[in-house]
Symmetry: none
Subunit: 401 residues, 2 copies
C-alpha cells in the first residue's frame, strides 16, 4: 500500500492525537540478561496503559536497516523515508533549527588549513573545537556581503559548518570544492549545468571573500565546500491530513524536522517535565502533539543501560499528565532502537503502544519488546503508523464504495 493513500481519505473532526516519542527506546538485554531497558524499567503507568491498548513492533525503514534520525522521524509521521531521504544539508539546517525559506541553498563545509601556495594541508583544520568554529562563523558573518544575496554562516560542530545562501533561482548542481586529499588546491565550484552558472559564480565570489577574511587565521584559513542542497518543501501534516500540529522538543534537530513537516514548534523547553507541562498548557489549541524525549537515545548512545532505564521511569512517572487529558489516541513509541549494548542506533524493530477507545484487546499486559512481538498491531513498517493513528481518531473515511 502506498503510504500516501491516507491523504485522500482524511476528514476533519475535533479528536486529538498525541505521539509520545521516546527517541531510541528499543533496546537489548545486557550479556547474561534477558530484559531490555524498557523491560527492566519499573513502568506502572505504561503497563496499565498497555493493558487497555494495542501493542506491536515497528520497522522504521526496513528489515535489517539502521535508520538515522531524519528518515526515522519522516517515517513516524507517515512520510516514506526512502522517497523522502532528505539531503544532509537540509538535515544539518534542521539540526541547528535554522529557519529555512524556499529561496535557500544549504552548503555543508569544513574549515581547513592551506599552505602559502593555497594547497590543502589539513582538510579539517586540526579539528578545531566548536567555540573556535563559532568565533570564525561570526567573523565571516561580519566580513562578507554579497550583492542580491543573503548569506548565513552557522556552526555545526568542531570543524563542520553550514552556509545558507538565500536568493532567487538558486541551483545545487555545482562541483564540491573539497579535493578529498591533502597536497592539492581546492577544486573550483564549477557549475555542472548551464542553469547553475549564476549560483556557481556567487559561490566562487563567496569562497574568495572567505579566504580573505580567514587569511590571518593560523589553522582555519580556508573553507572546503562538501555538498549542496536546495531547500525542498514537503506537504505538511495540515496539508496532508488536515491536522493542526504542535511539536514539543528540547533538541534543535527535532524542532527542525517538525518545522519541515509544517508543525508549529513550541517555545524552548529544557527538561522532560517542562515538555509535558507544555503539552498540558497547549492542549486546547492543537489536535496533534509530537512530544519528543531525547535522553532515552542519548543514554543508549552512551552505552549506559541503567541511565536509559531511569529516563524511561521518569517518562512513566510523568505519563498521567497526558492520560488525564484523555486524548482520543495516544501513541507511545520511538523513532528507532538505540540499545545501550550497542551504544548506537540499531536495526531492531521498535515497540509501539496505541491507546484509544477503539482498540481491540490483545494479550500484551505490559509495555516491553517481548510482549509487543505478539501484540495485536503485529509488526509493520513505521510509515503506516500515522494512518493507524488517524483511523483510531476517526479522521479517515472509507476507501471505495
Amino acid at each position: 500500500m502506498n503510504p500516501n493513500l491516507i491523504d485522500t481519505l482524511t476528514v476533519k473532526n475535533d479528536t486529538k492525537i498525541v505521539f509520545l516519542i521516546l527517541d531510541g527506546v528499543g533496546g537489548l538485554p545486557l550479556p547474561g540478561g534477558d530484559k531490555t531497558e524498557l523491560e527492566t524499567a519499573n513502568t506502572p503507568n505504561l503497563d496499565r496503559l498497555a493493558e487497555r491498548s494495542i501493542c506491536g513492533l515497528l520497522d522504521p525503514i526496513g528489515y535489517g536497516i539502521t535508520p538515522g534520525s531524519g528518515p526515522a522521524h519522516f517515517s513516524l509521521f507517515g512520510y516514506d523515508p526512502l522517497k523522502n531521504n532528505v539531503g544532509r544539508g537540509i538535515l544539518s539546517a534542521a539540526g541547528i533549527d535554522f529557519p529555512m525559506t524556499e529561496r535557500d541553498l544549504f552548503i555543508r563545509f569544513n574549515f581547513a588549513t592551506a599552505d602559502k601556495n593555497g594547497r590543502v594541508i589539513d582538510r579539517r583544520a586540526g579539528r578545531i573545537d566548536s567555540e573556535t568554529n563559532e568565533r570564525l562563523c561570526r567573523k565571516l558573518q561580519e566580513g562578507i556581503r554579497l550583492d542580491s544575496y543573503d548569506v548565513f554562516f552557522e556552526t555545526v560542530k568542531e570543524h563542520r559548518g553550514l552556509i545558507v545562501l538565500r536568493g532567487d533561482n538558486m541551483r545545487d548542481e555545482i562541483e564540491e570544492t573539497d579535493p578529498q586529499k591533502v597536497g592539492m588546491p581546492p577544486i573550483p565550484p564549477k557549475a555542472l549545468t548551464p542553469e547553475a552558472e549564476k549560483t556557481a559564480a556567487v559561490i566562487a565570489e563567496l569562497t574568495e571573500k572567505a579566504k580573505e577574511v580567514l587569511s590571518d587565521e593560523e589553522k582555519a584559513n580556508m573553507m572546503l565546500l562538501r555538498g549542496y542542497a536546495k531547500y525542498r518543501s514537503f506537504p505538511g501534516l495540515n496539508e496532508r491530513f488536515g491536522l493542526n500540529p504542535l511539536a514539543i522538543a528540547n533538541y534543535p534537530m527535532y524542532k527542525g524536522i517538525a518545522r519541515l513537516l509544517g508543525m508549529t514548534v513550541n517555545q524552548q523547553t529544557n527538561t522532560i517535565e517542562e515538555e509535558f507541562d507544555a503539552l498540558r498548557e497547549n492542549y486546547e489549541k492543537y489536535d496533534f502533539f509530537f512530544l519528543h524525549v531525547k535522553p532515552t537515545d542519548s543514554r543508549g548512545e552512551d552505552g549506559d543501560f541503567d541511565a536509559k532505564v531511569k529516563v524511561i521511569e521518569e517518562v512513566d512517572s510523568l505519563l498521567p499528565a497526558i492520560t488525564e487529558l484523555h486524548p482520543d489516541v495516544l501513541v507511545v513509541t520511538g523513532d528507532h532502537s538505540t540499545p545501550a549494548l550497542l551504544a548506537s542506533h540499531s536495526w531492531h524493530p521498535v515497540p509501539v503502544l496505541l491507546s484509544s477507545d477503539t482498540c481491540r484487546p490483545d494479550s500484551a499486559k505490559r509495555f516491553g519488546e517481548k510482549e509487543c512481538i505478539n501484540g495485536g498491531l503485529g509488526r509493520f513498517p513505521m510509515v503506516y503508523l500515522m494512518g493507524v493513528a488517524l483511523a483510531h481518531a476517526r479522521k479517515l473515511t472509507k476507501f471505495g464504495a
Copy 2:
C-alpha cells in the same frame, strides 16, 4: 523496501556468517498427527540454539507461492526472485554444475523420434532413460565440430538435455524447433531479430549435423530445441555485500547457483558429515558459508515422513561442529517447504532461526514451525533475510543522517 537498499550500506569487517540450509525443511503433520517433521525430530542442539536465538517464518516468494529451487535460493541470498527469474537454460546448466562463461548460449532440448519423412512421431523419443541419453550425448560430442564455435552436449535426465554453444556475439532471439505436436516436421530455427541471423545459422547447421549423427538410432533420431538463454551474469555476494563466500553442497544444482552468485564452491563432498567437516576446515579462509543439506528435500519429495525426520536428527547431531566455532551469525532455515504429506515443494512459509549476540529474546524455546509463528523475527519475505543477517554481523551502516 527495495531488497537492494542494503547494497548501498555494506561495510567490511571480520565477522562470520553461516547459512545452514536444510532444503525443503518446512513440513506438515501426517493425517491425524499434529507435529511436522521438524517438530517430530529429536533436536536437542537446535532447541538449545533456539532458546538463545530469534525465530520466525520466511515466505520465499509470496503468499501462496510454491517456489522452485532456483528462485528460492536467489531469495535466500537477497536477490529478488521475481526480478531475477533466471531462464531455465541457465538453471539447467547450474543444475549440472556446468562451468559457464559469458560467451555461452544455453539450449534446452528433447531427444525425439521422427519418421522417414522427417515428421515428429514422438516428442520424447519414448522417454529414453538417462544412460541412453548419456550415450547419445557422447556420440554427438564426438561427431560434431563447428567452425569458430565450441559445442557441448549435456545429459539432464531421461529424454532431456542441454546444448551449450560457445562463441562470440551469441543471441537468443531464435524460434524454438519443437512443433509441440506429432505429425509435423520440426520448425526451422529462424532468427527473430536481424542480430540473431548468425547464431540461427549455426544452430541450423548444428541440428543438421545432429540428424546425421543420430540417423542410425531407432528411437532418438532427432533433437527438438525448446528454449534459448544467453548467459546472464549477476553481481556476486562479494560485489553486493563485500563478502568472501564459500558454498558447500553435495548436489550440482546448488553449486551451480552458488557459482552464478559469485561464491567459491568447495570441492566435492558426498555426505552431510563431510559438508560439516569442510566448513570447519575452511572456516578461517571465508566470512560467509552456505552449507546446503539436500536429503531433507529428497525425503520430503519421496513422501517419507520418518526418513525426513531422521535427516533432521542427523543435522542436529552434527550442529555442535558449527556452534563450537562461534560464528557471529548462524542462520538455520530452508529454501522452501517440502512436506512429506504432499511429496512436493509447497507454499508454506519456512521456519528460520537466527543466532547472534544481538538477538532480542523471544518466546520460542525450540525450533519448530509452531514456535516460529510467534518468534521475534515475525513472518517476512525471505529476500530480506540476508539484510537481517548482515545487520546482526554488523556489516551494514546507518541509512540517512
